[in-house]
Amino acid sequence: MSTTIDTLRFATAGSVDDGKSTLVGRLLHDSKSVLADQLEAVEQASLSRGKDAPDLALLTDGLRAEREQGITIDVAYRYFATARRRFILADTPGHVQYTRNMVTGASTAELAIILVDARNGVVEQTRRHAAVAALLRVPHVVLAVNKMDLVGYERAGFERIVADFTAQTAELGLPEVTAIPVSALVGDNVVDRSTHMDWYGGPALLEFLESVPVAADPADAPARFPVQYVIRHGDIRHYAGQLVSGSLRVGDRVTVHPSGETSEITAIDVLGTEVRAAHAPQSIGVRLADQRDVSRGDMITAGPEAPVLTQDVTAAVCHLADRPLRVGDRVLLRHATRTVKAIVRDLAGAARLTANDLGRITLRSAEPLPLDAYAVSRRTGAFILIDPADGATLTAGMVEFG
């Protein structure tokens, strides 16, 4: 999650046949991000499938099985740019069994597009996508009501779906939702404003993506610096890592977690340049006043807002793996640069979580972890659970207190 003002990372989610791949293909095509050889390949592939118009979904469905089945299996990342902004798109499949892919895409996204079919309105999967966006704290959500051409471009239908969505997701704690009526197939309100829907006065989708404010990292956020690696050069130790939140300055008093030892920053360098201050998300090297026993997995923090040091971890979770997670399971918990053993103590009363379940967890970790609430800091409030037997990624966790 390297945030810049000139780059928007966003994710798409839709149910099967909502036309998500077509929407993404349209976005890429109409923003002139598809190059001639890619378009030629899509045209040929479409012809060989007996289609007379290029199937824009083939631009993103890259795997053989996806093309054969006409579905999107895995998260695909797309890169395009307009004169105003650069975009990194995580194109995530909508099938319920692939909810984990939306979680993956949303974890680094600053905006999520939730797609619904204007004929079907809000369905079970729409609620699920909204729940994932809320859980992962994606800062902006677009509700794209697609296939407006198939419902006569009618305002009443669009407004009914928006009202329905608002009502059904009211308790999720979603950020402000921007609803846009589109037809990906025809191109209405994707890149250019539609001429079929005079009643809609808002921006086309791409216009909105170009202008939505991206939150810059606040420089006065709590300083969090997980140590990745110790660079030894002569007698000097440089603690190397990425500053994931806030700022550090030469002279700052810092605390090293979990030991709780304190020290002072004597030097900071940003990839070869000595600086007085560094800010998230810079990758830096830090030197401390005394030779402390600091190593990978430790977290250096500064300022009054200290993380909560605890072995009792409570969190919202999305279970990702096909094997279930049960109360009593022994797992590895990966938080920032630290991996510790942990035991699943409770699953909010449930005996187990299966793939794509959203739930709540209580874990007991073998060592204390310096945690922030995910609502305050995505980078230091997030963790994953790993199966110690084969290393599989099991579960995504978002720390909650109280």
Partner: protein, 300 residues
């Protein structure tokens, strides 16, 4: 409230350095795949910055097809000496000489790289292998993780990839398995060139416009040479060209270009209507899923 923002190149650089340092912290024997192409050159530059003032805690691995551009080999050796690096070479020619691999009818050696690469990874017990692959290059690569687990045959199974969330890269692997790591996943071709310009990184001269004897095959300008070109009916002409990618001579095409400086190259790419692989890689045109098929078998 004051805010701080990084330029997009600084953000990409910071992300790539974070990935290099994660690997240094989690693995025993990482290696950087180094072809002498621009992406691997940028990787090396980032690794040097990530561990300065100390040396890079990795060695380099070159998969040598035997059809190298001499300018690139010379560049490789110069860089290895300049930074005091250790270089491993996996040689396709050796495998052909020993009868383990057979030359393909079309003379292309790119698909032959997989076995020497895999066996070198196994024999040297490399547990993390950095590749310069970018997700913008190709539709199968668009689905690649930053940390991509491979079995002892180096195989990639796109349906069994680990979910990769936030910046929490999971590098756990069993003995015999290894992880391919792609620090440039989120870079585009243009980002790479803008970074090369900003950092003033030296490149092999074939990336810039020069005069060269070439012949046309499959819509591409290939360099005449011992590897098997030109054949009867293919005529050689001297043209002003440059390379957008550097790979095996037998399947890497040059493009007509007068871009003899980095600024002109950036302008040329920004205006290009072809992707770099579409313009220059015969091996990706074999089928709709040519790259996916090679990746499954262990290609980088």
């Amino acid at each position: 409230m004051s805010t701080f923002t990084l330029s997009h190149l600084d953000a990409l650089e910071s992300e790539a350095v974070h990935i290099f340092r994660e690997v240094a912290g989690e693995f025993e024997r990482p290696v950087i795949l180094f072809s002498g192409g621009k992406d691997s050159i940028v990787m090396l530059h980032l690794a040097l910055k990530a561990f300065a003032p100390a040396a890079i805690p990795f060695s380099l691995l070159h998969v040598d097809t035997g059809h190298n551009f001499p300018e690139v080999l010379e560049y490789r050796d110069r860089v290895v000496t300049a930074h005091g690096l250790r270089l491993h070479v996996a040689s396709v020619q050796d495998y052909i000489d020993r009868g383990v691999l057979r030359e393909r009818p079309d003379g292309t050696r790119n698909p032959l790289q997989t076995v020497p690469l895999t066996e070198k990874i196994q024999s040297e017990k490399f547990d993390a292998v950095f590749g310069g692959g970018r997700r913008d290059e190709e539709k199968a690569r668009a689905k690649e993780r930053v940390f991509s687990l491979r079995d002892e045959f180096s195989q990639w199974d796109p349906r069994r990839q680990r979910p990769e969330l936030w910046n929490l890269y999971n590098g756990r692997h069993a003995p015999g398995e290894h992880v391919r790591v792609f620090p440039l996943s989120n870079w585009t071709e243009l980002d790479v060139w803008q970074y090369i310009a900003r950092e003033d990184i030296d490149l092999p001269q074939i990336y810039f416009a020069h005069h060269r004897e070439v012949f046309q095959r499959g819509g591409m300008w290939l360099t005449a040479g011992e590897w098997g070109g030109p054949r009867d009916g293919e005529s050689v002409a001297k043209r002003q060209v440059r390379y957008r990618t550097v790979g095996d001579m037998s399947c890497t095409g040059a493009v007509d270009s007068d871009a003899d400086s980095i600024e002109k190259v950036i302008a040329e790419i920004a205006a290009s209507r072809l992707t770099e692989r579409g313009a220059t890689r015969a091996d990706d045109k074999l089928s709709e899923a040519a790259m996916e098929d090679r990746k499954r078998e262990g290609y980088f």
